[in-house]
Amino acid sequence: MNSKVADRIATGVFIAIATIIVLVLIGLFSFILFRGVPQISWDFITTTSSTVREGGGIRDQLFNSFYILFITMLITVPLGVLGGVYMAEYAKPGKITNFIRSCIELLASLPSIVVGMFGLLIFVNSTGWGYTIIGGALALTIFNIPVMVRVSEDAIRSVPNVQKEASLALGINHWHTIKTVILPSAFPGILTGAILASGRVFGEAAALLFTAGLSTPRLDYMNWNPFSTTSPLNIFRPAETLSVHIWAVNTNGIMPDVEAIADGSSAILVLSVLFFNLTARFVGSAVHRKITASK
C-alpha cells in the first residue's frame, strides 16, 4: 500500500469517527429535547413538586441545582487553582510530589457513590448537620478538586516560560508574578476546567443522594435571610437537585405523570447545562479580553 492510499484511509477513518460522535450527540440531544420540551411550561418551572398528585413542577429542584453548583464552585475553584499553582510552581520534583500527584489521580477516579457514602459519614452524621446543601457541596468539592487541580496545573504549565522570566527579570517576586502574569495567561484553561467541573455538579446524583438529601423544605423565595429555615439561601437545609429528582421520580415516583416530569426535567437539565456553559464562556472571554487588552 503506498503512502497516498494510507493517508486517504486515515483521513477517512478520522472523518468517520468524528461523524459518529456528532451523530450520537445530535441523536441524544434531539431525543431528550423532543420528549422533554413539550412537557415544559411556565407552570412546570415555577411550581413546587408534588409527591402524589399530577402537575408537579421543579421550581425548587432547579434553584437547588444552581445553588449547590454556586456553593461548590465557591469552594472548589480557589482550592483547586491554588493547588494547581502549588503543583506547577512550588512543588519540587521528587518522591513527595509524585506521591501527591498519585493521590490526586486516585481521588479523581473515586466512584461518586463512594464519595456520597463518605459524605454521609462525615458531613451528615459526624457533623450532626443532617442532609444539607453545604454537606452536598463539600462532597462535590471532594469529587471535583482533583480535576480542578489537574486542569489548573496543566494550564499554568502551558504558560510560556519567557513570560515568567520577563516578570522575574524586572525584579518582581514569584507570587506577584504568578498573580499578575501567569494566572491571567492560564485563565482560559482554568475556565475550561471549571466549566467541566460544573457539568459534573449539574449531572451528579449519587454523591448528593446521601448528602443533600431527597427533599426540599417549603421555601419562601422572598425570604433572603440565609439563616432562616424557609429561606432558599440557607445552606443548612436539605436540597434535592434536578438530577436527584429525575432519579427519584424514575425509581419510586408514585404520581401519575412520572414520565412527563422525568422528560421535562431532563430537558431542563440539559438546557441548563448548555445555558451555563455558554454564559460562563461568554463572561470568561470578556474577562480575559479585559485583562489581556486583546480584541
Binding site: 510560556p160 522570566e165 520577563a166 527579570a169 524586572l170 525584579g171 518582581i172 506577584h176 495567561s185 487588552a293
Partner: protein, 275 residues
C-alpha cells in the same frame, strides 16, 4: 540601592577589603574567577574581567560558549535552573551578586535584562510598563502616565504607540515589542542593562533601530550585550570579550579586538573562519 545594601551586610564585609586595591570608580562589575556549572557540565570556566560604568561591553563567541550563561548569572536568572550552581564572584557595588544572602528581587530591579525573543506580557502596552511599577507601589495615574511616556520615549517607541497605549502589546511588530521590553526595563531605572541577543530575532530595519537605541542608552546606563552579529558588536560596543568553550580568550577595546586581535582564535572567529 539602599534595599540591596541593607539586606546583605554580611557579604559586604567579606568583600570590602578588596575595595581599595586600585581606583575602581569607573568599574561597575568585577568578575573574579567565575565558574558556572549545569549539573556536572561546566559552562563557564574561571573567567575574570571588569566591566566599566556607562560603557557598552559586547560578549561574542560561538553558540554554547557560555556568554549567555554568564549574562544570566549577573541578574541571577540562572537561579531558575535548579541544576545550575557557581563558584567565584561577581562584585557589584561592593557586594557579591552570587552571595546567597543577596536580595535577588532588589538586584534584578537594578540589573535589568532584555531577552533574545521579545516577550511582552499579554497585556496592554501601558500595563506592560506599569506592571513592575505597581509591584513597587508606584501609584497615581499622573505619575504612572509620566513614567510610561518617559520610558517609551527613551526606548524610541513613544511616537509609534502614543495613540494606542491601551491596545495589546501583541499587536505590535517584533521590533516594537522588543523596544517595549526595553522600555519596561528602563522604567525600573536600572543601573545595568543586560541584553541577550536583543536583535537577533528581528528584521534588519528593526535591528538597526535597536542598535541605534542601544547607542543612545549608553549615556545613562551600563550595557552588556551578547551578540552573534560581528558588525553590531564592532559598531556599538566599547569593549569586546571573546568567549570560547567557557573561557574568555580575549578581552580588550573593541577596536583592538576587531583590527588587531592578539589571539589567533579571535581573529579566526571574527573573520568568520569558524563559529
Amino acid at each position: 540601592m539602599g534595599m540591596l545594601k541593607e539586606k546583605v551586610d554580611k557579604s559586604k564585609q567579606k568583600t570590602s577589603d578588596k575595595k581599595e586595591e586600585k581606583d575602581q570608580s569607573e568599574l561597575i562589575l568585577r568578575v573574579n574567577d567565575l565558574s558556572i556549572y549545569y549539573g556536572s557540565n561546566q559552562a563557564v570556566k574561571n573567567i575574570s574581567f571588569d566591566i566599566e560604568k556607562n560603557s557598552i561591553t559586547a560578549l561574542i563567541g560561538p553558540s554554547g560558549c557560555g556568554k549567555s550563561t554568564f549574562l544570566r548569572s549577573v541578574n541571577r536568572m540562572n537561579d531558575l535552573i535548579p541544576i545550575s550552581h557557581n563558584q567565584g564572584e561577581i562584585i557589584y557595588e561592593d557586594l557579591n551578586i552570587l552571595d546567597k544572602n543577596i536580595d535577588v528581587i532588589a538586584l534584578r530591579k537594578e540589573i535589568g535584562m532584555v531577552f533574545q525573543k521579545p516577550n511582552p506580557f499579554p497585556k496592554s502596552i501601558y500595563n506592560n510598563i506599569t506592571h513592575a511599577l505597581r509591584f513597587y507601589g508606584i501609584k497615581g495615574k499622573k505619575r504612572l502616565d509620566a513614567i510610561v511616556e518617559e520610558s517609551l520615549r527613551k526606548a524610541a517607541l513613544w511616537d509609534e504607540v502614543k495613540d494606542r497605549l491601551d491596545q495589546s502589546a501583541f499587536a505590535l511588530s517584533g521590533g516594537q515589542q522588543q523596544r517595549l521590553c526595553i522600555a519596561r526595563t528602563l522604567a525600573m531605572q536600572p543601573n545595568i542593562l543586560l541584553l541577550d541577543e536583543p536583535a537577533s530575532a528581528l528584521d534588519p530595519v528593526s535591528n538597526a533601530k535597536i542598535e541605534e537605541l542601544i547607542f543612545e542608552l549608553k549615556k545613562d546606563y551600563t550595557i552588556v550585550i551578547v551578540t552573534h552579529n560581528m558588525q553590531q558588536a564592532s559598531r556599538v560596543s566599547d569593549k569586546t570579550a571573546f568567549f570560547l568553550n567557557g573561557r574568555i580568550v580575549e578581552y580588550d577595546d573593541t577596536e583592538t579586538i576587531f583590527t588587531n586581535p592578539s589571539v589567533k582564535e579571535t581573529e579566526d572567529y571574527i573573520s568568520g573562519r569558524f563559529g
